[in-house]
């Protein structure tokens, strides 16, 4: 059993879903990081469980695994460090760490 599996077995939270990230055409960061971001298309844009919106530059940050409260993410397009939290509407929201 790997270390990850051991931790998962004792973790009260269910394991995180994994996501295959494809290129979305976002080209505002170096090539190897592009799959981790996509353009936001406004209020009606529904975010997946592995996505959170950067409040500073309005780019969607994508992770290869499901995001949860307390996770730290980095917005490379605006170089902001963010922490994932729960918004008033129940969805995931990121706040900036200065």
């Amino acid at each position: 059993m790997s270390e990850t599996q051991k931790r998962t077995a004792t973790d009260p939270e269910p394991p995180r879903a994994r996501f295959e990230l494809e290129d979305t055409g976002f080209n505002e960061v170096p090539k190897k990081y592009r799959k981790f971001y996509r353009r936001w298309s406004g209020e009606k844009d529904e975010l997946a469980p592995n996505e959170v919106l950067c409040p500073v530059c309005k780019v969607v940050i994508r992770s290869s695994r499901e995001l949860r409260e307390g996770d730290r993410v980095y917005c490379m397009p605006c170089m902001s460090r963010l922490v994932v939290g729960r918004g008033q509407g129940g969805g995931l929201e990121a706040t900036v760490r200065y």
Partner: protein, 290 residues
């Protein structure tokens, strides 16, 4: 702090900007993209496009003067390097929007007179307020004015213009998309760098908030005059050309009057200011309405 400032490297800028979204562009767009015939063959629409583009050149000249002026006022090497890249971004914006004036038929020898003729005096006042801080080498006020207020305004204005032009004028929309990408870095720097400085200098808050209030007033006055002066909506109606039904902030821009568009843009920018300033510990001050 050290890790945070390390992100502001020239190498990072090279890989994110010239080697990314600007690759293979000519003055910010593809070489095979041109101003649409609808604009070039209609004097009213062409004139309106020139007036709008002059506002962009005036704003970007201010941003160029501010970002270059702030380099020597910056307290650390990381900020100096970032502002050096921002200076080149702003110089590029001046260049691409100036090139658009040429593409719209402005003769090179007439450039300055066309800018002087169409420059929005309220935008000039807005710029003077900011450049006064820069001239005093006031890094804190200068970055709030430049990277939060000016760039925050530009971010929203460019986004609105981008959605308006995406279908009708892909060349201009493409140019705007590159400037929006640049603005992401600029607003990010403003928030990330200034948050800690505001915390360390609480006595400066009232003065900076006063500057924000004054700059916001001149911004609203700029919008007011710009939308009052525009003749594009009436002309499109006169020639029977349907407006593009693009969505901005949940509204169909093809259905809004110019007054409604002005209100939507003003409210959007002020709302953004409030949120951005709140994040860095400044209290947003509501401006008087022009």
């Amino acid at each position: 702090m050290a890790d945070f400032l390390n992100a502001y490297s020239i190498q990072n800028w090279l890989e994110s900007c010239p080697q990314a979204y600007l690759e293979d562009t000519v003055f910010g767009h593809s070489s095979d993209e041109h101003e649409p015939d609808l604009i070039m063959e209609n004097e009213v629409l062409r004139h309106d496009a020139i007036r709008t583009t002059v506002a962009l050149v005036v704003g970007e000249r201010c941003a160029l003067a501010a970002s270059s002026g702030l380099i020597n006022a910056a307290p650390d090497e990381g900020s100096k390097r970032f502002l050096a890249t921002q200076t080149l971004d702003e110089a590029r914006h001046v260049e691409v929007f100036t090139q658009r004036l040429y593409d719209l038929g402005v003769a090179k020898e007439d450039l300055e007179s066309v800018i002087a003729q169409h420059a929005n005096p309220n935008l000039v006042k807005f710029a003077e307020l900011l450049l006064e801080k820069v001239d005093k080498r006031d890094f804190l006020a200068g970055v709030v004015g430049q990277n939060i207020v000016l760039e925050g305004m530009a971010f929203s204005v460019f986004e609105m213009m981008h959605v308006m032009n995406a279908a009708m004028n892909p060349k201009f929309a493409h140019t705007l998309q590159g400037t929006i990408a640049d603005e992401r870095r600029h607003v990010g720097f403003g928030e990330n760098r200034i948050g800690s400085l505001v915390r360390d200098n609480p006595a400066r808050k009232p003065e900076i908030e006063k500057m924000q209030k004054e700059m916001s007033y001149w911004m609203l006055a700029t919008f007011s005059q710009a939308f009052r002066d525009t003749s594009a909506v009436d002309e499109l109606e006169r020639i029977g050309q349907e407006r593009t039904h693009s969505n901005y902030q949940g509204a169909d821009l093809g259905k809004l009057s110019t007054n409604e568009m002005e209100a939507l843009l003003g409210d959007t920018v002020l709302k953004e200011f409030k949120v951005r300033l709140g994040r860095i510990g400044l209290d947003y001050q509501s401006p008087d309405r022009p």
